[in-house]
Every structure is written in C-alpha cells, then in structure tokens.
C-alpha cells in the first residue's frame, strides 16, 4: 500500500456504551445490523417451521403450541388464524428485518466507507439513529405477538380491507395490526436515514483516485439499493400513514362503501383497496431489488476474486445494476394482474417486467464469463457466491412466467409464486449474505472461519433449499393454493400431500444445518485461526488494513487509488493481483 498522505487518526471512544451500544462507528453499527438480522432470520425461520409442520400434521397436538398461544392453539392444535399470523410475521420479519437489513445496512455500513477509502459514513449520528430506529421497529413488530389478539393476519403486504377494518376482522387485526403499521412506519424512517447516508457517502467521500468507474461492484450495488430505498420507503411511509388513519381515525382512503364484516355494515365509504396495492407495490417491487442487488454486488466481487480474473464487462455490470434499479420502478403492476386492471396496462407492465430480464441476463452472462477460463478457488465464500448465481437464475426464470398476465392469472394464488419469490428474493439473497459472511468475517473479526464446517454447511443448505422450494413450482402448476393452513379437506390435494411432507422434512433438516453455521460463527470468533491482512489475495481497499480494522479504518492515513477493483492476472505483473492502492 503506497501513495498515502498521513494524518493523525481519530481516537476511539473508551466508554463501553459509546463504543459498543450507541456507537457512531460505522463498523460497530454494521455489526449491530448484522446481528439484528441474524436474530430475525432465526425467528422468521422458526415461524416457517411451525407453519410447515402444521400443514402436514394439522391434527397433531403439540403441548407447547398451547403454552405459547393459549387461544390460537387451544388443545395444542393451531387455528387457521394463528397460522395466518405466523405467515404474516414470517414474511414481514424476513423481508424487512433480514433481507433489507443484513446485505445493505449490515455489510454496506461496515464496508462501504472502507472500500471507498473514507473514515466513516458521512453522517455518523444519523447512522446510529437509523440502527436504533430499526431496533425499535423490530421490538414493536415482535410485540405484536404479545398483545391481546396476537399478531396480524393480513400478510406482509397488509392488504385492506382486512388490514384496515380493525378487530372486527379477526384476532390480530386489532392492536397487533396497529403495531405492525407503526413498526413499518418506523422502519421506513430508519431506512430513509440510512439511504441518505449511503448516497452522500458514496458521492462525496470517495478517496483520491476512486472514480465512480473504479468503485467495487459491491459499492455500486449498495449505492443503487440506497436510491431504491430512498424512493420506495417514502411511498410506503405515506401508505402506512393513510392505513393508520383508516384504522384509527375513521377515514376512508382504502375502505369501500357497504363493506360487511362479521355481519356488520361499516360506516366507511368510497375508498379503494386497490389504491393501497398501488402504493404498496410501488415500494414492494423495488424492495425485491433492495434485497437482491447487494447479493449481486457480493457475487460479482467474489466471482472475480476467487476465479482470479477481472470481472467480465465491468461497465456492463454497472449499467445493468442501474438498469435493474431504474426499470424496477415501472413494474409494480405485475403484482396486481389478479386484482384487476385495464388489459393495456397489464400488457405495459408485462413488457416492462420482461425487459428486466435483459440487464439480469447481462449480469448472469458476465458472471459466467468471469468464471470461464478462471483458476477457480473453491473456498466456502466462493461456493456461496456460485450458489447465489444458481438460485438467481432458477428464481429469475420462473419470474418470466409470472410476468405474463395470462399465466399469472393461473399461478398467482398458487405455490408457484411461493417457490418463485423464495428462490429469488429469499434464499438467493441469503446465499449472498452467507457469501459475504465467509468473505468478510476475517476482516470483521480478525479470525478465519472454519472451511470444513463451512463447506458441510454450504452443501447441506444448497441441496436443502432446492429440495424445499423446487417442488413448490410443481405444486403450483398442479393448482395447489397458497396461504391455506390445512389441505386435508380438499380431495384433489390428497395426491400432493406427500410432496408437502417431503418439503417439510427438507425444511427441518435445512434449518438444522444452520446450527453448523452458528457454531462455526461463534467458535471462529473466539478460536478461529488468526486472519492475515489479505487472506483472499483480493484487491479492494479493505484488504490493505489490519484485521479487524482500526477505529478510523486507515489509522490516520488516507489511501490514494490508482487501479480498478478487479485487476487479477494482469500480464507482466509480479503477482496475480494488483491492489487498488498499488502505485500506478
């Protein structure tokens, strides 16, 4: 590392609370986000296991169900209402507190400033507030389980009228649903604060020589994700305010006239549930890219590093990220084909949806191009990056089917959709997080993760998620409806139930395999082999500083960048990689 201008570094705060709790350090905040997401992912996964178990053993009496939910599981048998509340909370926790939180706010907070050569984010106090607001949002969300009536039933999309009419609509639709809306509003505010920081930091705090076209693709993906979050969460916040007023102040934004709920005619009039759907999905579709773009950035970074080749078509990759982000704002209607819309609108949304396949395909081909002819190192981090590409392709292809109105009318309320979005938005993004964890763990904690445990965990998880979610596509084609708590009363479902049983056991085994990850994570933090500065022989700036980094990242020095982020196997170079800060 050369070409440094040396300056005195900042002093780290010495008090425990200022250093680890209300910290202004982007690295600590990044780790806080990471562990918040880790807690959330296990909570969300636990809920999904309960649902899957109930689905295949609906009559089994489970004593502790009743302990946890005396009303919702009286006699140890889960009611459909409890099932729906688990469904709602699973989706909400996974989408907001895992997929939105870990890849962007976790890894992004930790590594964006370091990768661009800055000491911290542009607005550290805002950064701290953003994390603690997210934490508060999670507390409020989880509190919904413990209030009278329990957690809401209306799904992570909270469609009115169900979400807007209050306790009359069922258990969970009282205080539980109100807490849900408050939590999402707080989360939206936190995300906006985070987005402001990411955008200002990327634009204005890059070190000398770090032009936009020398940014690692991780930084590009965090930057574009922040823009999506900025524009999307503001709209979700507005929608949440209107929903809250419908629930609590008697307004009629989303509630139509003449609505009869539980034999009572409501006094609301003139509103439109479709209005909520438009507002929600204007946020909701970009949210898919908020979840997946950081994974794309990590995959690009790792494929190049571990194939020892420059990323294939760097500029094309940047334009593809921008293209996906831009087009993502014009396709929300494809979530609403079933809700009813002018066929011409549906056609426009469909064509625009298909067009996202172009930048997505550019990225996929470029990843394959990067691998082609490379000297691939199959470390665990790389395996998860390859797994990400596989899952992205698998989940993306089924999206082409769903983007066509004629097919979506059939598939929309079936397990085909469940399989699709779990592949693309759920496990692909989570594989991106696993890849990021194995790749950056040495830098974050100063120790290496165990490769053997990592590989066992990877293969079990990779096979496991395909075993869970691939059959869902076939079930969907066979007409298996989604959101049902129990299929035993449907004759046509009889022959499909063994598939559900298979998926449930695959889910239980895959979830069990995650214990290996947790053991590896905790054990490696304490006993793992000491990490060198640059264990992967990578090129970006985080690998020029100690593991873990000092408080102000570059110890008072400020790097100067002379190279692109992926200069591997450059002919004539003394090593097979050139660090970004190496002399020109």
């Amino acid at each position: 590392m050369s070409s440094h201008i040396v300056h005195a570094g900042h002093q780290a705060p010495t008090g425990f609370i200022r250093r680890y709790i209300f910290s202004l350090d982007h690295k600590v905040i990044g780790i806080q986000y990471y562990f918040l997401a880790l807690f959330s992912v296990f909570l969300g996964m636990g809920l999904s296991l309960l649902m899957r178990y109930h689905m295949v053993y609906p009559d089994a009496k489970v004593g502790w169900f009743e302990t946890l939910w005396p009303t919702g599981a009286a006699g140890g048998i889960m009611t459909p209402e409890l099932y729906l509340s688990l469904l709602t909370m699973h989706g909400t926790i996974m989408v907001f507190f895992v997929l939105t939180t870990a890849p962007q706010s976790g890894f992004g907070n930790y590594f964006l400033p370091i990768q661009i050569g800055a000491e911290d984010m542009a607005f550290p106090v805002l950064n701290m507030l953003s994390f603690w607001a997210t934490f508060l949002a999670l507390v409020v969300m989880v509190a919904a389980f413990f209030v009278p009536g329990g957690a809401p039933l209306s799904g992570w999309t909270a469609y009115p009228p169900l979400s807007a009419v209050g306790p009359l609509a069922g258990p969970g639709e009282g205080l539980g649903q109100t807490l849900w809306v408050f939590s999402i509003a707080i989360f939206s505010g936190a995300s906006l604060m985070g987005a402001i920081n990411f955008i200002a930091t990327t634009i204005d705090l890059r070190c000398k020589g770090m032009s936009m076209m020398r940014l690692p693709l991780t930084c590009w993906s965090w930057f574009v994700t922040a823009i999506l979050g900025l524009l999307g969460f503001a709209v979700l916040l507005a929608a949440g305010v209107l929903l809250l007023l419908d629930r609590m102040a008697g307004t009629s934004f989303f509630l139509p006239a003449g609505l009869v709920v539980n034999d009572q005619i409501l006094s609301h009039k003139g509103g439109s549930p479709l209005l909520w759907q438009h507002l929600f999905w204007f946020f909701g579709h970009p949210e898919v890219y908020i979840a997946i773009l950081p994974g794309m950035g990590v995959a690009s970074q790792l494929l190049s590093t571990f194939a020892r080749k420059p990323i294939f078509g760097y500029r094309a990759m940047v334009y593809a990220i921008l293209g996906i982000g831009f087009l993502g704002f014009f396709v929300w209607g494809h979530h609403m084909f079933m809700s009813g819309m002018n066929p011409y609108s549906a056609m426009a949304f469909s064509v625009l949806t298909m067009s996202i396949g172009v930048p997505s395909a550019i990225k996929t081909f470029n990843w394959i191009g990067t691998l082609w002819g490379g000297r691939i190192r199959f470390d665990t981090a790389m395996l998860f990056a390859l797994g990400f590409v596989s899952l992205f392709v698998t989940g993306g292809i089924s999206g082409i089917f769903l983007g066509q109105p004629a097919l979506d009318l059939y598939f929309h309320d079936t397990y085909f959709v469940v399989g699709h979005f779990h592949m693309i938005m759920g496990v692909a993004a989570i594989f991106g997080m696993f890849a990021g964890t194995f790749y950056w763990f040495p830098k974050m904690f100063g120790r290496m993760m165990n490769e053997t445990l990592g590989k066992i965990h990877f293969y079990l998880t990779f096979i496991g998620v395909y075993a869970i979610f691939t059959p869902m596509h076939f079930l969907g084609i066979a007409g298996n409806p989604r959101r049902y708590a129990d299929f035993t009363n449907f004759e046509f479902m009889g022959k499909l139930m063994p598939v559900h049983t298979f998926m449930t056991w695959a889910a239980i085994l895959t979830a069990t395999a995650q214990i290996i990850f947790v053991v590896n994570l905790v054990w490696s933090m304490m006993r793992g082999k000491k990490a060198p500065v640059n264990p992967w022989e990578a090129t970006t700036l985080e690998w020029t500083i100690p593991s873990p980094p000092p408080f102000d990242n570059f110890a008072g020095k400020h790097p100067v960048v002379n190279h692109g982020p992926y200069e591997y196997s450059v002919p004539g170079a003394p090593k097979d990689y050139i660090m970004q800060s190496d002399p020109a």
């Binding site: 550290p124 987005a195 204005d204 705090l205 900025l230 305010v241 008697g250």
Partner: protein, 211 residues
C-alpha cells in the same frame, strides 16, 4: 474536524480534514463535508418529494373514485399564512446576503425575523385547522378534508424540523458562535426552507383548483 457542518449538526467524523485528498474521488481537497451535507439535503428533499407525490397521487385517485368528494373550503387565514411563509423565505435570503457581506447585525435581524415568521406560520396553520373544526369539518368528514388535514400536517411536520434548524442557527448567531464552519448549516437550512415554501405553494394550488 471542528467547525464543519458534519461535525456540528450530525456529529460527523466521516468527512476527512480538508487537506487529505478526499472528496468525490477527484482529489479535490476542499469542501468534502460541505458537499456531503448538500448531497444529504438533496437526497432528503427527494424523499420528501416522493412522500408528497404519494399523497398527491392518492388524492387524485381517491378524488376520481366515487361521488363522496366535497371540496373543503379554504380558511382565509391560509392566504395570510402563505404570505408569511414567502416573506420568511425572502428574509432568509436577505440574511444570507447580509452574511456574505459581513453585516452580522443585519444577518441576525433578518434570520430572527424569518424564524419568527416560520413559527407564526405554524401557529396560523393551527388556527386554520381550528376554523375548519368550528365549521364542522374534521379529518374523517369526507375524503377532501382527509387529504387536507393529511397534507397540511405532513407539511407542518416538515416545517417543525425547518423551524428547529432555523432556531438553532439563530441561537448560535445570537451567542456569537456562528463561525465560518457553520456557513453550510446556514445554507442548507435556507434551501430546506425554500423547498418547504415551494411545497406549500404547490399544496395551495392543489387545494384551490382541485380542493
């Protein structure tokens, strides 16, 4: 980095000292923290625009949906409030011009005036809401009144933030603590205030023409 807006307002150490070569990758050694603050403000404004755009598009969708829309009569005090807000923006610009010319007493006078007018606007909005209530028009009376209260409240919440920023600078100025490092705070507070001005004029047009 004492004296910078990043340090003073948001506790920043993200922006480096002014001679380190930081700042947008171009090697420009000056103004990185000022630029970050201005970028942060522009990004915040983009989020606010999206918030009001979402409310406004809902306004038009809801207005076209059914026959229960009854235009909300605009309380006359809103026109006075509009004048107060525009005057406060003009006062802010006069204050900034005074600051550039080194006329600190004039700056204090104009800035205090603008802050006071901002607070007056908020008081005027409260009176407008009371007048509507006295006329039997509440949040849930009909969709037009619902949007009127939602939009004016959303604007008032923004304005509360703006008045707080203006008040902070005013106190700093009156305590003779408004050093050169706080010029950025002066500028971004003023830009934010003008933005709220523009949003308010847009809202008045919306209420006046589509009610």
């Amino acid at each position: 980095m004492p004296g910078s807006i990043t340090t003073d307002i948001v506790g920043g150490r993200g922006a480096p000292p002014a001679t380190t070569g930081f700042g947008g990758g171009d090697g420009d050694s000056r103004g990185a923290s000022r630029r970050a603050s201005i970028t942060g403000l522009l990004v915040l404004l983009a989020a606010s625009v999206m918030l009001f755009a979402a409310f406004t598009s809902s306004f038009f969708v809801r207005r076209g949906l059914s026959n229960d829309w009854v235009d909300t009569p605009l309380p006359p005090i809103l026109w006075i409030n509009t004048g107060v807000l525009v005057t406060s923006s003009i006062a802010l610009e006069l204050a900034r011009a005074a600051l550039r010319g080194g006329r600190r007493v004039a700056f204090n006078r104009y800035w205090t005036g603008a802050t006071t007018l901002g607070a007056l606007f908020l008081g005027g909005q409260y009176l407008a809401w009371r007048q509507l209530n006295d006329a039997g028009i509440y949040l849930a009376t009909n969709p037009s009144s619902s949007f009127f209260f939602v939009l004016t409240c959303a604007h008032a919440v923004h304005l509360l933030g703006g008045v707080s920023a203006l008040g902070y600078i005013d106190v700093q100025a009156l305590l003779l603590r408004l050093g050169p490092g706080k010029r950025t705070a002066v500028d971004i507070s003023a830009y934010f205030w003008h933005f709220l001005d523009a949003i308010w004029i847009f809202l008045m047009a919306l209420f006046f023409f589509w009610g």
